[in-house]
Amino acid sequence: MKMGEQFRGVWVIAYRDLLRFTGDRIRLFSSFAMPIIFLVIFGAGFSNVIGQLAPGVDFMKFIYPGIIAMTVLNSSMMSGLSIVWDREFGFLREVLVAPLSRGSVVAGKIVSSAVISLAQGVVMLILAPFVDVRLTALLVLKLIPVLLLISVSISALGILIASRMRSQQGFQVVIMVLLMPMTFLSGVMFPVNNVPVWMEVISKINPLTYGVDAVRQLFLAVQPLPAGMPAGISMSSAIGVTVFNHTMSVMDDALVVAAIGAVLLTLAAVAFSKQD
């Protein structure tokens, strides 16, 4: 098949998803409101109970990068839900009988999901000054590829699940039993190093953990050190995820997410192509 045709498939699917997203004010609103509510409630609620997690890292500074990762995560999962939705309301047939390859349909879904998720993650950055988190231009530049990587991997997971799902209710159940625990055990809310062993094991085989860790490390690296701290000790080392006593760097985290994402993407493309 010609390259032009593949590109047309990606573009037309992404075009429609973006058109729908911007036209759907309720979804637009709720997708921004949810993370803000999380941030405000958990941030305000726990800040007083939990002191500093590491020198210079209060709970707000800890949870804020996690919430950004979570925003990207939730938004990415929507690509799967949109497929199930389209199947239920018939539009998927219009897509499947069109002269487009299934692979390009999957790619289009992932592109739109990544664009929407990234936009939502970036919008969350507006809140940084309110929670006393420092932003730099370089940090934002580094965040973009990391957030895209998380989004692509999770979108692929969503599409993989959606290829086997016939109803929205079924998909919601999967989100409840899979995505919720995955989110909570990814270090969004608490560090995953000093937890019971079973929890630590689950956390460390959870690909999300590495996505969250990468985002958080990027943030903590640019936060000002508290007075009196010897220079050269990074704040993130106390909180960063360790695997077999090796503290993961941002690059390590990104590689793990990329590797898992590549596997999920392949599985999603195969599963979506095989369905009738």
Binding site: R8, G9, R93, E94, V97, A98, P99, D276
Partner: protein, 323 residues
């Protein structure tokens, strides 16, 4: 080359055989009707022809392209209007049309012109900027027909295009279909429950339990019923049936409390029959056979027996009386 060639197609879902070795050709420019009760294999056949399902066995080609090996070319050659809507309700009619144009690679310079033309044809131009969720069922179906034609397909598949629509909309849709056929060489492959609509078809294939049980023009199919259909209402149905079988050597059928049978020449038959029939009669009616009779004879049941609502039954009976 025929527009559609089907060669011994079989489709199994686990233990169930939905389509059991059907073969037929649809010629270019034909309106081809595909009739059968629910679950007979109509939708499965259409899904195979439009590449949504792969056949378990057998070969089929659409516009000369193999439905398994040359999917992309098949998809380009066909337009589809399914029973259930396949529109995006959250987009406007225009946006739905444009999505289709992009997906099928309609050239940019033709795109807007064709969209406007087709929207005019189905009389939705004024509503083109409205979201589809605000459309009525009939408007949605019209939009789908317009969309199905946007990429100028050679073959248009219509799966129950008028199901659930009011009579006025049904007539409109048939007007479009007949206009289309005059304008260009378009082959139409359609399924319908409405026997009066099946009459518009050039040829009809009747499918039952996954097999083709008849294939011919509507008038020839009606000839197979064997003349005129006589319906009687008798005082004693049992005795009437017995007498019809034994004395007149006929094969009567009971439907809705009425007894009906067919005779080659009712004008000659009836005077004699009335004189010599031993059971007292309440009513006699004679009519030309319809496709319902063909269907009843071939499959042993009325086409809409299971799903026809009260009103529909009434409408059909009234229709039959008027003929």
């Amino acid at each position: 080359m025929s527009a559609i060639e089907i060669n011994n197609i079989v489709k199994k879902f686990g233990q169930i055989t939905a389509v059991d070795g059907i073969s037929f050709n649809v010629e270019k420019g034909e309106i081809f009707g595909f009739l059968g009760p629910n679950g007979a294999g109509k939708t499965t056949t259409i899904n195979i022809l439009c590449t949504l399902l792969s056949p378990t066995n057998g070969k089929a080609s659409v516009n000369g392209f193999d439905v398994v090996r040359e999917r992309r070319q098949v998809q380009r050659s066909i337009g589809l209007v399914f029973q259930d809507p396949t529109l995006d309700d959250y987009l406007t009619a225009d946006q739905n049309m444009r999505f289709h144009a992009y997906a099928y690679g309609v050239p940019k310079d033709l795109r807007e012109k064709r969209i406007t033309e087709l929207m005019e044809m189905v009389e939705l131009v004024e509503r083109r900027k409205s979201r589809v969720s605000t459309y009525s069922g009939g408007m949605k179906r019209r939009l789908e027909i317009a969309r199905g034609l946007l990429h100028h397909p050679q073959i248009l598949f219509l799966d129950e295009p008028t199901l659930g629509l009011d009579p006025q909309t049904r007539r409109y849709i048939w007007d479009y279909i007949t206009t289309l056929r005059k304008q260009e060489i378009l082959t139409i492959f359609m399924t319908t429950h409405y026997m009066d609509e099946a009459e518009y078809c050039d040829r009809i294939a009747v499918i039952d339990r996954g097999k083709i049980v008849a294939l011919d023009t509507p008038s020839k199919l009606k000839d197979t019923v064997g003349g005129d259909v006589v319906t009687i209402q008798a005082d004693n149905q049992e005795r009437a049936l017995k007498e019809l079988k034994e004395k007149f050597d006929l094969a009567p059928i009971v439907q809705n409390g009425l007894v009906s049978f067919s005779v080659p020449h009712s004008d000659v038959f009836l005077p004699d029959f009335i004189k010599s029939f031993g059971v007292s009669l309440h009513s006699i009616s004679v009519r030309r056979p319809t496709l319902d009779d063909v269907f009843l004879k071939l499959t042993g049941r009325a086409i809409r027996e299971q799903e026809a609502g009260g009103w529909d039954m009434m409408r059909r009976m009234m229709g039959a009386m008027h003929r």
